[in-house]
């Protein structure tokens, strides 16, 4: 399979952008990022694109391919209709620096404000803890996150309503869940989740889960369980009465 394909790529900075058509010859086994690199080499040496690993593990090459948030290095050309121009746009939810490169630093600021791990007293004299594999597995799913921020990008709360100041976004709910569900951790993040992190803005429409390249079940396994814990603490007076007898950590 060798074929000339049109790629319609965003060029420009800030608000001044346009979609520019580039043609290049594509072959078997190529991914979108390969095509972008080829275009860079052949006809657009100043095309800005961020990438690192080409293996779906660094989370740098996030973009929107034919309108869907994807990692360019993991999107095979074979799964796209190449008879029509293929659009490649930068993520919409973050400020555009140039072409396909956005400034995702807002995410790092949000992450900093999520309470750090606060371990309980070690179980053993050597300072280590005991944990059942089964209890480890639940938070472990969330550790797969590669911080590609595709989930942040697709979430309408950020993407359409730009509530960056009031909503931490799915990536950070995954992070908070990873810490909250860790049996060793003793910090309480529920008040922050309900307040400044704005978990109530999430309307569980699951777009984050759909685009996650690590297949983390963001909505069902992280956000909804956290929402339920928030209900425990703030919206369930009857349950609260019963729970006087049972604690979450034991």
């Amino acid at each position: 399979m060798s074929k000339t394909v049109t790629f319609r790529i965003t060029r420009g900075t800030g608000e001044k952008t346009e979609l520019v058509d580039y043609q290049t010859e594509v072959g078997e086994g190529m991914v979108v990022l390969d095509a972008v690199h080829q275009i860079q080499a052949e006809s657009a040496p100043d095309l800005a694109v961020r990438w690192n690993c080409k293996a779906g593990k660094c989370g740098s090459c996030s973009a929107e391919v034919n309108g869907m948030p994807r990692l360019m290095c993991m999107t095979r050309l074979g799964e796209i209709n190449l008879d029509e121009p293929v659009t490649i746009e930068p993520m919409r939810t973050f400020p555009l620096i140039k072409d396909l490169v956005t400034d995702v630093s807002w995410n790092y600021e949000v992450k900093k404000r999520i309470k750090k791990m606060k371990p309980r007293k070690p179980d053993n004299e050597d300072g280590s803890w005991l944990m059942d594999q089964e209890d480890v597995e639940r938070p472990q799913e969330f550790r797969k996150c590669i911080e590609c921020f595709l989930c942040q990008n697709v979430c309408h709360v950020l993407r359409d309503h730009k509530l960056h100041a009031e909503f931490a976004g799915p990536r950070h709910f995954v992070y908070a869940a990873q810490l909250e569900m860790n049996p060793i951790d003793t910090a309480d993040r529920l008040e922050d989740l309900k307040g400044p992190d704005g978990i109530g803005y999430c309307n569980i429409t699951k777009c984050c889960t759909k685009v996650c390249p690590e297949h983390i079940t963001i909505t069902d396994n992280a956000i909804i369980p956290l929402k339920e814990r928030v209900v425990d603490k703030f919206y369930d007076p009857i349950g609260k009465l019963f729970r006087v007898f049972s604690s979450r950590d034991s």
Binding site: R92, S105, H161, C202, T205
Partner: protein, 279 residues
């Protein structure tokens, strides 16, 4: 916000997207499916007749709290034998039509309306928030489930407790559906008809849906950081998680089947279908 102080891309207009797939199709499917069910159940709940046949009681009317057969309707044609608390109460204001289905449907209805799966689904299909992933929406402002009215969704777990009670009632209806009355003598005999199977599948599908509820998953184990400590809790949590993975599938299967169960019994009662006796 961001350190570079560059502008964000403006909000896209309603339906605006660079997606090329038929993204509106699943949204439309949900809209049609849910609307169809609501219309049918409202209609069925307002009929006030043909909701029972032999030992079968339509799940749209179960539990039947009170019931008095209308004049001229007697025996098997009526439904008095299903009423838990006897005849229609005398204090019922005559100006309001007595609709026993509407006395109970608020419970399973509220359960589904506040269900996490359905919420996500109807926010998309009915409220277009968003119409689908990465597609522009019609709203300029947004408050989500953070404030009134949608903050009320947080009562879902109370509906879940009720829904679990309903499972027992509906299981009892399967038992009732195994007793056939001889219209001539009034004698009861054990049997299994196609309707019994329809009712049994109904409670099975509803159980798969209800017992995979996110709130149930939370209250039986999810609230704990350490689930491995209690073996019974651990197995319950695992079972619930298994059903929860297919929550959407069970939500639709049970929805369709509840409607079909009512339809089947209605058709039998109207004499359109002939119930097949298996045993």
């Amino acid at each position: 916000m961001a350190q570079t102080h560059l502008p964000l891309a403006p909000q896209r207009g309603y339906g605006e997207t660079t997606r090329k797939d038929p993204w509106w199709l699943p949204t439309l499917g949900t809209f049609i499916g849910l609307s169809g069910f609501i219309v049918y159940m409202t209609w069925a709940g307002m009929q006030n007749e043909h909701f029972s046949y032999q030992g079968y009681l339509s799940p749209a009317y179960s539990p039947l709290l009170f019931w008095t057969d209308p004049e001229g309707v007697t025996g098997l044609a009526g439904a008095e034998r299903f009423a838990y608390f006897g005849p229609q109460p005398s204090w019922w204001p005559g100006a309001i039509p007595f609709l026993p289905a509407l006395l109970i449907l608020w419970a399973p209805g509220g359960f589904r309306i506040t269900c996490y799966y359905y919420r996500g689904a109807y926010y998309k299909a009915f409220w277009q928030s968003p119409p689908n992933c990465a597609v522009g929406k019609p709203h300029k402002t947004y408050s989500g489930e953070r404030s009134f009215p949608l903050i009320i969704q947080n009562i879902h777990r109370y509906f879940m407790y009720l829904a679990v009670v309903f499972l027992f009632i509906l299981a009892h209806d399967v038992y009732l559906g195994m007793w056939f009355i001889d219209p001539a003598t009034g004698a009861k005999s054990f049997g299994i008809g196609l309707g019994t199977i329809v009712l049994a599948l109904n409670v099975t599908f509803l159980s798969a849906y209800t017992l995979g509820c996110h709130s149930l998953r939370h209250v039986i184990g999810g609230f704990k950081d350490r689930i491995s400590g209690a073996p019974i809790r651990k197995s319950l949590y695992k079972g619930c998680t298994g059903l929860n993975k297919n929550h959407m599938r069970w939500a639709w299967t049970s929805l369709v089947w509840v409607g079909f169960t009512d339809f089947y019994i209605r058709m039998c009662s109207m004499g359109v279908f002939t119930d097949i006796r298996i045993i």
